[in-house]
């Protein structure tokens, strides 16, 4: 674990020095300027829109970091040959892969945490300046803690996306990794269609294949509860727990795959 920790801290240091965290500034500017503009244009609906926009931004900013850094994590080390020196140190290849993964997840978690704090700060400000009448029109309080459930599931989803990007990065180019990761992410958001494919096609074989894919491919739609929390619909803690468990179990398989592929790879 010591080696994994050192590799992870180094990845985090790289993110900071390569100015990845600058996205936080972009997020803050986007959120604050939008809330100001909405405050001028709408009454009552502005908090809901800010919630929608804030949660979607946390998800998209995180996704961009997860995919675009995740796909280069291992590939860059191999391409630039820094991996030669690193793997000659007392380190197993699996520790290298896990260290890289944990480093990026650390970057993502800090990103999401800071964005969430900024998000709640903007909402708290809006709650403070709103009149009692406007507040009464809101479906849920501006700083509704239930939104944290959505944030937790966004983090688990980003962890899984990072794992998938890292897996592809262990054997393919960044472009291909990005395409494959993005492809899985899109398919994963329409996973229910695969399950119900049998209802729209006549071929039993196609239906069976689609159903098989439904079980094999990651179900990213399950992590998306943003609309529910914004509209005040209940999201049971049990659902959050089980979905997180699903995500972490899937992630474990992906990471085992990444370690297995990387451990057998020749660095020509």
């Amino acid at each position: 674990m010591r080696v994994v920790r050192h590799v992870a801290v180094n990845v985090f240091k790289e993110s900071v020095r390569d100015k990845v965290l600058y996205n936080l500034v972009a997020f803050a500017v986007l959120l604050i300027s939008t809330s100001y503009l909405l405050g001028q244009l709408t009454a009552g609906q502005d908090v809901k829109i800010i919630k929608d926009l804030g949660l979607a931004s946390i998800s998209i900013f995180g996704l961009l970091i997860a995919v675009f850094i995740g796909i280069g994590l291992v590939w860059k080390e191999v391409e630039k040959r820094s991996v030669y020196t690193l793997l000659s140190k007392p380190m197993r290849r699996g520790e290298f892969v896990l260290g890289k993964y944990c480093g990026l997840v650390l970057t993502l978690v800090i990103n999401v945490a800071v964005m969430t704090v900024a998000f709640y700060a903007v909402l708290a400000y809006m709650e403070r300046v709103a009149t009692p009448g406007v507040r009464a029109s809101w479906a849920t309080p501006a700083t509704d803690p239930a939104m944290l459930k959505a944030v937790v599931l966004i983090v688990i989803e980003l962890m899984l996306v990072t794992g998938i990007a890292l897996f592809f990065s262990t054997f393919s180019s960044p472009f291909l990794s990005a395409m494959l990761t993005a492809g899985l992410w899109v398919i994963g958001h329409f996973n229910d269609d695969l399950r119900n494919f049998g209802a729209v096609v006549k071929s039993p074989l196609a239906a069976t294949v689609a159903r098989g894919l439904y079980y094999v491919l990651p179900n990213f739609a399950a992590f998306d509860v943003k609309a529910q929390v914004v509209h005040g619909q209940a999201v049971p803690l049990g659902y959050v727990g089980l979905t997180s468990l699903y995500g972490i179990t899937y992630l474990a398989f992906v990471l085992v795959g990444a370690v297995a592929v990387f451990s057998r790879r020749d660095f020509k």
Binding site: K80, S82, Y84, T85, L87, S88, P90, F267
Partner: protein, 320 residues
């Protein structure tokens, strides 16, 4: 116990997507390197030197054969604690400073933070990186990166170091410093295995060498053995030699080349046969005086060029 022992170590790659063909990178390498030696691993570009180093460090996996480092199979994590490695044209994290990079590598060996700082500072002093150690590596020249690379290879005070083209990118002064560093490592008892195509460095530093050509071991042994074995004649320096005696010796084919050094003093090149004792006895009997007699040895470059030119290309496989 040998520092390195390889038995029939072989690496083939498949090349081509539609019709994969075997590509010979290293074929049946069997050799030993003793502890405390400075061992030169020589060969032209593409001979398989880097492939061998990568195999020993498990950056690639052998097609067949086996190897041991310090008595343990390659890939043993315990062995990695006892070795250092400088890759060819090393690249390091350019967002770190030299000091940070070395501290990071020291951390991977489990050293405490104070020890990491101490080791990193001492090694950067040793390789001649001064105040620049506080700069990010992206601002370093190729030669400075090479020095940092050598420093990182020594961060754990290794029993054995693998240096892949350690003089690459260094100016003459830098090369001399690294030569001295390698000699200091030898004095400490550290085994140094270095690959190079710079024969002057090998000749100056190595106790033993191996020459690799087309992925195959062409020759190996101590430098003195390889060069003595390749003696191609004798150099006899004599005084008091008359022109008539010299002409007679030439006529008999006992002298292949004559260099006049002074008044009746000559340096004569003699063939391997007849034995130099017989020629010398004839000359002495005719009034010449012996100054010196030495074997004419090939330089390492002569041996190298001969081995490279003579090596057959392996059949059925593309040259490495």
């Amino acid at each position: 116990m040998d520092a390195i022992r390889t038995e029939s170590l072989t690496k083939h790659y498949s090349v081509g997507f539609w019709r994969p063909r075997p590509y010979l990178a290293l074929d049946d390498l069997t050799m030993q390197v003793g502890q405390g030696e400075v061992f030169g691993f020589l060969g032209p570009n593409g001979a398989g030197k880097t492939t061998t180093l990568k195999l020993l460090l498990q950056l690639i996996f052998p097609t067949s054969g086996r190897a041991e480092i310090l008595g343990k199979p390659i890939g043993d994590i315990g062995v990695k604690r006892r070795i250092g490695y400088l890759p060819e044209q090393p690249y390091f994290y350019d967002y770190l400073t030299a000091q940070e990079l070395l501290e990071y590598f020291a951390a991977l060996f489990g050293y405490a933070p104070a020890e990491r700082r101490k080791r990193a500072a001492a090694l950067l002093d040793e390789v001649g990186i001064g105040a620049e150690r506080r700069l990010q590596l992206r601002k370093f020249s190729k030669g400075m990166l090479q020095r940092v690379g050598i420093a990182q290879a020594l961060i754990n005070d290794p029993e054995m170091v693998f240096l892949d083209e350690p003089m690459s990118g260094l100016d003459p002064l830098g090369r001399r410093e690294i030569r001295h560093l390698i000699l200091r490592l030898r004095e400490r008892g550290c085994t140094v295995f270095f690959s190079s195509h710079l024969l002057a460095d090998a000749e100056a530093l190595c106790s033993r060498v191996a020459i690799l050509v087309n992925g195959r071991l062409a020759t190996t042994g101590s430098l003195s053995d390889i060069l003595a074995f390749q003696a191609r004649g004798w150099e006899l320096v004599v005084g008091g030699l008359s022109d008539a005696v010299l002409e007679k010796a030439r006529g008999l084919g006992h002298v292949t080349r004559v260099t006049r050094l002074g008044e009746s003093r000559y340096a004569l090149e003699l063939p391997l046969t007849p034995p130099p004792e017989r020629i010398l006895a004839d000359l002495l009997a005719q009034g010449a005086q012996l100054v010196s007699l030495n074997p004419l040895r090939d330089t390492l470059e002569d041996v190298f060029v001969r081995q490279v030119s003579a090596a057959p290309r392996p059949r059925g496989l593309e040259p490495a």
